[in-house]
């Protein structure tokens, strides 16, 4: 009877494969797992690898997603310390950190992640109400601080929920938490709108009056400046003329030699200057040279 060695090898291989399927399991890098022995969690696994286990009725493996879950809680209403109604909602990044603690609480439900989030939602609601009540509205919205109060509120919620998780030991870990919505009750929005409208009105009016007043200021300032410049220039011109007169006066010494002649010459040139344009002159016979008309030629000697 001839046994084919190949047949043996193949048979062995099949047994090994079947055995591996029964006795081993893999945990991926995105998962954590817990091994239960007769339903009791006995071995948590947080590192990805290939692991051995006893086959089914003895041991069973439960794996959970270990990646960070995004969760946004319901919008809940809370009263601030100074009695404003504020609706808040936060986003949370959480993950399963301890499968042994997580398993007994949530493995029973069809979707352990959703079940955990339902619980988180309840706790967050209470935590938020408590934290919001400790802060005035100006900690949430303010133009005077640089956001430290806002961050402080987020940190308070985070710290509170984390300590709650720790006391209850759910095997959950919160990676980050932040406010996602910050709103007012619907009825309040209307009064905010009314206030905003009147603020806008005030602002529009202010712009208008400010503009007019400022324009007026500019105009009058310009007029004053122009008048100043002109006055300065007039002063300067007077000064210059004065200088000219002073300089010209130096020549008076020359005329001083014979004031009579000087005055005569000045009068002559003034007369000439004043009669240059479009003048009408009326003479009688006494004015020289019209005295010639009187036929008196001898006045050559009289005058």
């Amino acid at each position: 009877m001839k046994r084919n060695p190949l047949t043996l090898v193949i048979g062995l291989l099949l047994i090994i494969i079947f055995g591996l399927l029964l006795f081993t399991f893999q945990v991926r890098t995105t998962e954590v797992a817990v091994v239960t022995t007769f339903g009791k969690p006995t071995r948590p696994i947080t590192e990805p690898n290939l692991y051995f286990k006893w086959p089914w009725p003895v041991q069973k493996v439960w794996t959970f997603d270990r990646r960070v879950q995004n969760f946004e809680d319901r919008l809940t209403e809370g009263l601030t310390r100074d009695s404003f109604n504020l609706l808040t909602s936060v986003y949370v990044g959480w993950k399963v950190s301890d499968p042994t603690a997580f398993f007994p609480r949530f493995a029973g439900s069809a979707n352990p992640i959703a079940a955990a989030e339902t619980l988180l939602d309840q706790w967050l609601g209470n935590t938020k109400t408590a934290v919001v009540g400790k802060h005035p509205l100006s900690d949430f919205i303010s133009t005077s601080d640089d956001g430290t109060n806002f961050v402080a509120i987020e940190n308070e919620i985070l710290a509170a929920i984390q300590s709650q998780l720790q006391t209850n030991n759910l095997g959950l870990q919160i990676e980050f938490l932040g406010l996602k919505r910050l709103q007012l009750p619907e009825s309040v929005t209307q009064s905010v709108f009314e206030r905003m409208t009147s603020e806008r009105k005030v602002l529009a009016d202010r712009f208008q009056y400010e503009g007019e007043a400022e324009a007026q200021r500019i105009r009058s300032g310009a007029e004053r400046k122009a008048a100043e410049v002109l006055a300065n220039a007039e002063g300067q011109a007077t000064e210059i003329k004065g200088q000219g007169e002073a300089q010209a006066a130096k020549s008076l010494a020359v005329f001083q030699q014979n004031p009579e002649l000087a005055s005569f010459i000045f009068r002559l040139s003034a007369l000439e200057g004043s009669l240059k344009e479009r003048s009408v002159l009326i003479f009688d016979q006494h004015t020289p040279p019209f005295d010639l008309f009187r036929g008196v030629s001898t006045n050559l000697l009289n005058k």
Partner: protein, 365 residues
């Protein structure tokens, strides 16, 4: 991939050892069995080859791949990432290759601060009708530092710089990025004044949002880098007119101010020019006065000796000469002869604003 198991299972049956005496029929049967066994062997080897060959995979230019061996990444950090090209890994269930797209830039939009719009309205670019209130469940908005309500939304553009973290540490990392963006909008709006967000400091607001989002994404270690953040804000639809009026008033103000400034320019320039010409005139007056006086003095100097020689005659001569010159220039000359009886004569003047005609004046003898 487990198909190769089945041929193995079917294998032992076709090889029962031939025990019957050799006859033609059984010999033919054993021949047939042997040859079919050879075929099965060949098929098996082929299947093993196919199994191994199925471990080949290609990585595209915008992708990286990570091999998980028994669920654990092969290699550490950057070394675990396989670049574009052909690669080989053991087939499942030993290895598993996971491809990660690092394609260019990813976008997430944040609408937590925007009023509810249906996709159709968004496409058509129309706004839903505004009610008198905002329902917090459906309508998003942000509260500003000065307790105003505004709408604001943002699009964040980011790049994956740590694909291992991005894929293996988060169920949905882009969702986490979006949450960070939402928080950034809320946070920054709560510290800004409404006018700064909407008109005065749009860029500053956007920059602050970008900074906050970048910081959050870094703190939460999402494995991404924020590239760009575009923010769009608008006043509530309910108050559109009120906000528009403020804008109009602001425009009006700058118009009025500009007019005033141009008036200012004009008037000061004119004053400057006038002043300059005034000074110039004075300067030329001064020069002329001085020159005139010195010229006259010179002339006086010259004629003084003549006058001293014949004072009376000189005076007469100058007077007559000057009169003669004056009379030549004068337009109308009227001479009143003395009447012989010595009576006074009456002269009537008709003054006219019009250009005087040569014969307007009349003389009454």
């Amino acid at each position: 991939m487990n198909d190769h198991d089945h041929p193995h299972n079917g294998l032992p049956e076709p090889v029962p050892p031939p025990e019957t005496p050799v006859d033609a029929g059984s010999q033919a049967l054993s021949e047939a069995l042997r040859s079919s066994f050879a075929i099965v062997k060949f098929v098996m080897v082929l299947l093993v080859l196919v199994f191994l060959a199925s471990g080949f995979f290609t990585v595209g230019p915008q992708e990286r791949a990570i091999i998980l061996r028994f669920g654990k990444p092969v290699g550490e950090g950057e070394k675990a990432l396989l670049g574009p090209g052909l690669h080989w890994s053991f087939p499942y269930p030993i290895d598993e290759n996971i491809k990660v797209s690092i394609a260019g830039l990813q976008h997430v939009g944040s609408t937590v601060g925007w009023y509810a719009v249906t996709p159709e309205q968004m496409l058509a670019g129309i706004e839903p009708p505004a009610g008198t209130t905002l329902n917090p469940i459906v309508d998003g908005y942000a509260l500003t530092g000065d307790t105003n309500i505004i709408h604001t939304r943002a699009t964040l553009t980011y790049r994956i710089n740590d694909p291992i973290r991005y894929v293996f540490s988060f169920v949905n990392a882009s969702n986490a990025v979006q949450s960070a963006q939402d928080n950034a909008l809320l946070y920054v709006a709560s510290r800004f004044k409404v006018d700064d967000i909407l008109t005065r400091d749009i860029a500053g607001f956007q920059e602050a949002v970008r900074r906050r989002a970048t910081q959050l994404v870094e703190n939460q270690d999402l494995g991404v880098v924020v590239e760009q953040c575009v923010v769009q804000s608008s006043p509530p639809r309910q108050l559109k007119d009120a906000f528009a009026n403020v804008l109009k008033a602001e425009v009006m103000r700058s118009k009025v101010l500009n007019e005033a400034r141009s008036y200012e320019n004009q008037i000061t320039n004119k004053a400057g020019a006038d002043a300059e010409s005034l000074v110039n005139l004075a300067q030329s007056d001064r020069a002329r006065l001085v020159r005139d006086m010195s010229a006259q003095a010179e002339r006086f100097q010259e004629i003084l000796p003549q006058y001293q020689d014949h004072p009376a005659l000189f005076g007469q001569q100058r007077l007559t000469e000057t009169l003669g010159r004056v009379l030549t220039n004068v337009q109308d000359k009227i001479f009143l002869a003395e009447s012989p009886d010595g009576n006074r004569k009456e002269l009537r003047l008709l003054l006219n604003r019009e250009v005087p005609k040569p014969k307007t004046e009349d003389t009454k003898p």
